[in-house]
Symmetry: C2
Subunit: 358 residues, 2 copies
């Protein structure tokens, strides 16, 4: 391919002058600049950033590692990262790990080999290995999603514990007393955190806790809901740890002849953004995923370009609690108590956005 010397030769200047035209045009006289630009156009010259990267020790490439690309969540992360990266002139190498910690390390290594200027990681687990690997290679990294216990690293996340509590408390306020939690894999932090928030809210209200751990899929949601709803004292409401689980649970309810929300209320996390869905159904928590990913990308770029140094920052974004059509006070017969007064005020507030928290 044509290189900077070819251009220089054609314009009858030194390669250095061509370089200046590209990187610092004002330092070149208008005359020679014009000549060089013509040569560039004539030869269809495209600068080689591999050479540049070697010399400048910057590749202008960022790495993004997500767990599961089939999750709409990941798509929003990709959008957020590429948007922020593009705005700063970076491109993005994309990798996904299919929930495997080994694959995560493998992909990160591959990114380091390519000498990306920084890494965005939506991690499988919150073990320190991945972050420490990248940091040992002196590349900035930001974690998307959750706290990395005790690590000195930039983090962008929501207060999931509080969000889970508010979902649960909302159901309790509606009058529900028998509320089950359907979560994801016990190995995944978000699954555990969300279950923990549920547990706290239930315990504080003096109610019994019922948690099932499965996977973040509709199938798993279906199965978990099936066994939960067939249990002796059938719950009148479910807290699910993801939209996929909620979908499966709704199917299960329908298969059992239960109407949502009349016979069963369902709440969920990771709701799709309202502006993407015509007629949202599930009451649940919405995270500003794309914005969070953009913010994380900015943090990484700040460090890569030397604008920021020092200790890791922990940026917590507000979640939104949206009330839609999947929740209602419990019906009379199976519930152990009536709907309390606080629920009455909310009854009928369909599609109301309760607002943000934290």
């Amino acid at each position: 391919m044509v290189n900077i010397r070819d251009v220089a030769a054609r314009a009858a200047v030194a390669p250095m002058t061509v370089s200046r035209v590209l990187n610092n045009p004002d330092a070149v006289s208008v005359d020679t600049r014009k000549r060089v630009e013509e040569a560039i156009a004539d030869l269809h010259y495209v600068p080689n950033m591999v050479g540049q990267g070697l010399r400048k020790r910057r590749t202008m490439v960022l790495g993004l590692v997500v767990s599961d690309i089939t999750n709409p969540f990941a798509v929003q992360q990709i959008q957020g990262v590429t948007k922020a990266a593009r705005a700063a002139g970076y491109t993005v190498i994309f990798a996904h790990t299919e929930h495997s910690a080994d694959e995560e390390l493998h992909q990160l290594r591959s990114l380091i080999e390519r000498r990306v200027d920084g890494v965005l990681l939506s991690p499988v687990y919150n073990t320190p290995d991945s972050v420490e690997f990248v940091q040992r290679q002196r590349r900035p990294i930001a974690v998307l999603g959750y706290d990395m216990a005790g690590l000195d690293v930039d983090v962008v996340r929501c207060d999931t514990d509080a969000a889970a509590r508010s979902l649960t408390e909302f159901l309790i306020d509606l009058g529900h007393r028998s509320i089950a939690m359907l979560s994801g894999s016990e190995n995944i932090v978000t699954a555990v955190e969300r279950a923990r928030g549920y547990t706290r809210a239930m315990t504080e209200a003096g109610l019994g806790v019922r948690i099932t751990y499965g996977r973040f899929t509709p199938e798993s949601g279906y199965e978990m809901a099936m066994s939960a709803l067939r249990a002796p004292e059938r719950p009148t409401a479910l807290v699910t740890a993801s939209n996929f689980i909620a979908l499966g649970a709704a199917e299960a309810a329908s298969a059992l002849g239960l109407r949502v929300p009349e016979d069963l209320s369902i709440t969920t996390f990771d709701n799709a953004r309202t502006d993407l869905v015509h007629d949202p159904f599930f009451t649940g928590i919405v995270q500003p995923v794309a914005e969070m990913a953009s913010a994380g990308t900015d943090m990484v770029i700040e460090r890569a370009s030397g604008q920021v140094a020092g200790p890791g920052r922990d940026r917590i974004f507000p979640t939104t609690f949206e009330v839609h059509r999947s929740t209602a006070p419990p019906s009379r017969e199976p519930a152990s108590s009536r709907a309390p007064s606080s629920a009455a005020t909310r009854r009928g507030h369909h599609n109301e956005v309760k607002g943000s928290q934290q």
Copy 2:
């Protein structure tokens, strides 16, 4: 960062020996190899592929450019490409263009600057500019999606024209006579091709053609369906050019009090794969998107590694026609004729897979 000379010094060998340990271990004695490997581990050395890329003139990076990442389609493309790339040791730079031809060229240029070894393009339009730009830079490229009239380039696609015909003919066989087509933007080839297949089938059957061009979104589908269904002679069936349009059309039908399929049959393209959906609703065409993307990636890699040269290949994948619950013979009153015999055999064959074509 630690480089190959640091490792060499620590192992008391020449840098070349370290290089050999990494690239051709058998050419090094067991003894020295062990020493070098220790040094690598001690120093946490990760080879610099930027330097390697400059020297070998191969980056082991591929570029993937898709139009719209919010389309589940794009996700399958990403999966297919990353899978094939990873299997061959390549990583993938990902870019999306939001349906802008300018942005497409811009992203391609950025990929060329990074000296990717090859490009996968799911193009906005089938104009030659993008392909020609990449080819002029002597990088292999494969086009995902549709034919590039007269260009000498690797293409991976389906026979969309035939697929559109078969959708339409299926409806005609069911007994429908008044069938409208809701398509995407007239600027986008797939939209036009799908409309063309519909037109041919209708014309051959001696039926009138009604085509609306809009966008590939639920909102647009809703609007197009609304005006189509309010027209004087209301159609008894719709052919939609994408799943998004079909969703909007179904909403519109529901808003007008029409039942699907009793009062209105709907068929679609770009159906999600059956194994991803619990209880598929739409009768329509399914493309093996991920497999196509993988195949395109293999084609690019074959050229990048010199295994293949010569003229562009046109690889056409079979589509699958899945009959689900959104289609039925027309009801008696508004239709001009009864359901013919051929439709009777299909009536009730819900969730049947009709098989593949071409």
